[in-house]
Amino acid sequence: MYSQTQDAVTEAAPNLPDQVFQARIDSGVKIEPKDHMAEGYRKTLIRQISQHAHSEIVGQLPEGNWIGRAPTLRRKAILLAKVQDEAGHGLYLYSAAETLGASREQMIADLHSGKAKYSSIFNYPTLTWADIGAIGWLVDGAAIINQIALCRCSYGPYSRAMIRICKEESFHQRQGYEIMLALSRGTAEQKAMAQDALKRWWWPCLMMFGPPDTESTHSEQSTRWKIKIVSNDGLRQKFIDQTVPQADYLGLKIPDQLLKWDAEREHYNYGPIDWEEFKNVVQGNGPCNRERLHDRVEADKQGAWVREAAMAYARKHRKAA
């Protein structure tokens, strides 16, 4: 009945529902799944949320690499909990995308075929234990900055998922910083390991916020729809400003010669980002793109019989009942 009502309205005045929709967003009303929404809003959100979900799922892989080699039982338990959280965060986000009419199967198929993207940061390798520290401190730190902004986004289910994720993710960043602190207060070798990790992760982390505002394509419309709250460069600056003193405390050096406090702007100035590298990684040519996708597809294949068996079991018991 609802859809018929919608059709009638659309035929009579083609632009009216979308204008009403924009007015609701402007007045700060959250959009819920069954509400009318502009078709572009729905499409953009499905792309954004599913990409976000894929990032959580693929993000388990670089860290999973170190679960079996964590230096103590405490660190191992923490890392397991963190990776389990990432799986949970992926599921919250897939659910949010499904409320927009996307099917879980299709989203996963798009990830596996390479059609859908995930955050380029997960295409870098975790070479040493210090990388686990750097990921928690920097990668999760950057993700939190982006996600805190998105808690205020206009789509109810996405906003609620972001709030829950932010609450849970704070420990991810803190455990990472604790690892970096232990290493930077340790032997000369350990400190060098921490420094090396910071050197390799710094620039890719700055790229996580996406291209500069001058080149960011869909920004304007997304801002109007309130599914982008702060600009890429704004988020990036916030991350830099909060992270530099944290690195200073560790006694580690950020690999940017031009990094300097600007008293007038009250922000740090920073050197140019290598956007060629970013484009290259997004296009599939980063150090680990093929490995990540291969591992993901393989995990899905190896779990297929479990999913089929669970379904067969459920069917059998439904018949018996």
């Binding site: 909990a81 959280d85 849970e168 999913r307 669970a310 459920a314």
Partner: protein, 93 residues
């Protein structure tokens, strides 16, 4: 995933509180849905009880009917205690 149905998950946070909607997940049957909901929605002691309901079994009011459904209450402020003027010096009202 195949044809695993979608379930809505409701969690009771503490004894004495009502179950609240926490989110949704796919599972082949109710038992697995509850087990998965334990892992997805209560990793930090968020619950003492879980309900799962097949999403397809939930009937919902339509956003288009929001006006006729809920607006009549707007014109009935006398249903609220603050509607009434009573003297300050009279206690326990």
């Amino acid at each position: 995933m195949n044809d695993w149905p979608l379930w809505e998950v409701f969690v009771r946070g503490q004894h004495g509180l009502a179950h609240q909607h926490a989110g949704s997940l796919h599972a082949p049957d109710a038992e697995t849905a509850i087990n998965n909901a334990r892992d997805v929605y209560t990793r930090r002691n968020e619950g003492v009880s879980i309900w799962v309901v097949k999403s397809s079994d939930i009937a919902a009011s339509s956003p288009g009917d929001k006006g006729p459904m809920f607006e009549p209450a707007n014109t009935k402020p006398y249903r609220h205690p603050t509607f009434y003027d009573v003297p300050d010096e009279v206690k326990h009202l």
